[in-house]
């Protein structure tokens, strides 16, 4: 087996997702999904329901009256929030693990993932693009491939880093050159193995190179830009540093301006703290310990 085959062979043994997460992600196929559709899926998981109720009652929303049922929680939070909190809670344990080759602690990969998810969603809102949760989920899962790539990067790190400097390549281009495959591709293979909806797989596969996508949808651009911004701002940065090249066409397609970027940046700083606390304090039991 060559190096690429060795890496790809790890995809099939990658831990599966909680069943509930799969059901939720399937809702991304439906552009008209409502809060009650999401409620129907999550109501059978008591811990997740508890998390959502807690979110609805959090001080962050600044409301005085308590919600007492999942339906009230959904009504208050809206379908987007419900979806985001549910998916994040379920996926937390999969992403909260150290990745040696990139020198990411368990906290780093999680922090980067949740930051990119939230940033993609904040930009989405600033740019007034209709989307239930694709940009967020794509952001949350875009770097999953690093979990498998990590051990292979470990042995070749110096070679990859020299390639970045000598040939002026971005980090994932150098990964591909030295190892035969890069972390976006491995992440996409995991997502396909998990039977994720195709647009979500695209967000993961093309997050460093939106131009290569067979069909460029805005969620890919959003994840790409959110990733670049979060790396630049130091949310969960590993040994690969900030050696990434943002795509100018994505900037043009989204009509991004410095003002929008700076507004989103300040928004992310506060949202991240809230969501991070919420999910860390009470992750759903289905997600906790299952693969650890």
């Amino acid at each position: 087996m060559n190096m690429k085959e060795q890496i790809v062979s790890k995809v099939s043994s990658f831990p599966t997702l909680p069943a509930m997460a799969g059901k939720l992600l399937n809702l991304l196929n439906d552009p008209d999904v409502t809060g009650s559709d999401i409620g129907k899926v999550v109501q059978y998981d008591p811990a997740l329901t508890a998390n959502l109720m807690k979110a609805a009652n959090s001080a962050y929303l600044g409301v005085a009256t308590q919600v007492n049922s999942i339906n009230e929680a959904i009504f208050r939070l809206g379908s987007k929030w419900i979806f985001q909190i549910a998916v994040s809670s379920l996926i937390y344990s999969n992403l909260r693990r150290p990745v040696s080759g990139y020198d990411l602690s368990g906290e780093d990969l999680w922090r980067h993932s949740i930051a990119v998810g939230l940033m993609a969603d904040i930009l989405n809102r600033e740019l007034k693009i209709k989307d239930v949760g694709l940009a967020f989920t794509g952001g949350l899962l875009h770097d999953m491939g690093k979990i498998i790539m990590g051990e292979f990067i470990d042995d070749k790190f110096e070679e990859i880093e020299n390639t970045v400097h000598d040939q002026k390549l971005s980090f994932e281009q150098a990964e591909e050159k030295i190892l035969g495959v890069d972390h976006p591709e491995i992440g996409a293979l995991i997502a396909e193995n998990w039977k994720f909806p195709a647009p979500l797989v695209d967000c993961i596969r093309y997050h460093h190179d939106p131009e290569a996508a067979p069909e460029i949808h805005q969620s890919i651009d959003l994840v790409h830009i959110a990733d670049a911004l979060c790396l630049m701002q130091g949310y969960g940065v590993g040994r690969d540093g900030i050696n990434y090249k943002p795509n100018s066409n994505s900037v043009d397609r989204l009509k991004l301006t410095t003002t929008i970027i700076e507004k989103a940046t300040s928004q992310l700083n506060t949202s991240l703290e809230e969501v991070d606390n919420l999910i860390k304090e009470s992750p759903a039991p289905e997600a906790v310990g299952r693969f650890s």
């Binding site: 701002q233 130091g234 540093g241 900030i242 100018s248 300040s266």
Partner: protein, 159 residues
């Protein structure tokens, strides 16, 4: 020795000689280590954006997020603790940028330019700095001596 870790948008001052102020992952953000060697009063900030006008409500809650709100507060707190303007040693790290950057991502450079302007207005100079490039940096300062170092993929160096 006790490590005082600053997150993004935090600012801290101390005159406990046992303290080490440290902040990680400075990309486009800027970290300032300020120290008065005589009174051994020191402080640090990790701000992420240049100007608070982009979001005044966030600036009110977290002034350390912006250079124009955070840096003056850092200075005031240092002076209130006994630091003197004449003796204050300022060391700066961060302000990185992405590769092949598009102008809209210019936050690192803008962060640095606004800082220069604020310091110039206050008659303060930067003693040493490690800014720009594509690096992610860690800034660390020991309160008993003022020893300040920057760590990045290029190694550790004293500022």
């Amino acid at each position: 020795m006790s490590l005082v870790v600053l997150g993004i948008s935090d600012l801290q001052v101390s005159k406990n000689p046992d303290d080490i102020l440290i902040t990680y992952s400075l990309g486009s953000c800027i970290g300032i280590a300020a120290y008065d060697p005589e009174t051994k009063v020191g402080g640090m900030i990790h701000y992420m954006l240049p100007l608070s006008k982009i979001s005044p409500d966030k600036a009110a809650k977290k002034p350390g997020m912006f250079a124009d709100t955070g840096v003056p507060i850092l200075l005031k707190k240092l002076f209130a603790m006994g630091a003197s303007k004449d003796r204050l040693v300022l060391k700066v790290a961060g302000g990185s940028h992405l590769m092949d950057q598009n102008k809209v991502f210019n936050i690192g450079e803008r962060n640095y330019l606004v800082l220069r302007k604020i310091l110039w207005k206050n008659n303060l100079l930067i003693k040493s700095e490690d800014v720009g490039g594509n690096l992610s940096r860690t800034l660390r300062m020991e309160l008993d001596s003022g020893l300040t170092t920057v760590k990045s993929s290029q190694g550790v160096r004293e500022l």
